[in-house]
Amino acid sequence: MRENSENLEEAVSIRAADKVFNPDSDNEVQALLGIDLDIKEGDFISLIGPSGCGKSTLLRLIADLLVPTAGEVKVFGKTANQARLDQDYGMVFQHSGLFDWRDVSANIELPLELKGWSKADRQARSKEMLELVRLEEFKDHYPRQLSGGMQQRVSIARALSFEPRLLLMDEPFGALDEMTREHMQVELLRIWRETGTTVVFVTHSIPEAAFLSSKVVVLSPRPGRIHSEITVDLGDRTDQTREDPEFFQATTEVREALRAVEAG
């Protein structure tokens, strides 16, 4: 069913969404204004924009971690709230957010534990997930014993452990060094292809957005609005792709959109 309906069903559909923080007070902030956005199932969408443009806020509206002040957010045709309760999405934050008192497998098993899975099922799934992110031999390690890139891989494994159809990522590679970051991007694309999960990815890196996405959504700040949507098609990407003229062209397009945003 999921395969058949690919590119037909909307994974996320946002209509006229506004978000105001601290309404009717002195420090009222209009974070988002009139957001319309459709994300098709199987897409890889990046949200990019200068700081304060509300890209993380937008991600949190989809996740139902924040509620829009006006407008509507639908995830797989349901309200965002229902989608969260049904655990239709997994989330990855900038700081891996692994619990340092749990070893790698126990971290990956956390959402399964909360769902009441049996121990045997949990172990089987965390083993699969560790294979997916290629960290099999680190299953008994504690987060502090891992590098930043490895921690982020565990975090991805945890987010995907219950096979959500949507993966929400909030600057997941923001704290990594450049080489690790590029490696993680290739890994993420491999995982995206292998699992067929829809990804919404918040970043402030132009090459990262251009390299990963099928569509880059550029936001402008104060109040946060969608400035433009740029479709990217780099086909199967490898590290070699970063030296292709098509990649250069895609980054240029995103960069110019951001310059237009800055110019107001």
């Binding site: 949190r60 655990q87 989330m91 700081h95 957010g97 619990f99 956390l110 909360l114 014993q145």
Partner: protein, 288 residues
Amino acid sequence: MTKRKAIKTAFTVIVSLVLLVLLWEGYKWMGQQTEDHWPGTQLGLPVSTDDLTMPHASDIFNELTDEIRAGRETLPMTVYLAKKAAFTFLEAAIGFSLGVIVGLMLAIFMLRWRFAEKGFLPWINVSQTVPLIALAPIVVTWARLQGYPDMVGISLIATYLTFFPVAVSGLRGLQSPDSSDVELMRSYAASWSSTLIKLRLPAARPFLFPAFKLAATLSVVGSIVGEISIGTKTGLGRAILDFAQRYSVWPERLYSSVIAASLLGLFVFGLVNAAEWFFIKRGREVLK
């Protein structure tokens, strides 16, 4: 703990004990030479160095192995003190356990309802400004009037001292997770109690164990003060009270009971340390 580390710890303990004895005896010797004045001055020493005020360290240690008559039987001092200490330990352990339970419950209550934090925290702070010496007889008298053994009242006094650090540090620890950790639990549609059990309580452990260590030593202090202020029949407080009355005859005895009290404090501190190692640090050393 590795063997190497254990040897190092034991070595440190022995060296500091030796230094303490040397300091004691050195000061005493100096005072004896100068008739209790700072050398070369007319300034008096803060503590007199005669054998009544400062018995020789060797006399105090000898006293520990000497025999003492307790009722009809005669016991070595160590055994006598150990028996008293065991009783005090029991009171302290009950007080500590109750204090931890009450403290944690208060912390969770204040976490759940912000108004409780605003309303309770000042009173929790005020509670600790009441002098223990004044409070102890009141609590024990209440317990006595209701027909409870003195032990109950004394344990309650220990509870009164121990709940405080647990409640205050516990609240800080429960509030310590990053907002993204809380968001993560929310993204799993985790209930408030699952978030408490899977995230907040484990995250609070590094805040709780230092509080437990403080609470453990306070529970011993609370029990002894409780015993002394109501004059129980047994416990280290009783021993201290008895020996204090005969201080002019047998000063070594009071010192030996003081040593017993501090050893008991060290013992409970060590127990909490062991628990901390078991619950937090075991197998989690960062690989180099």
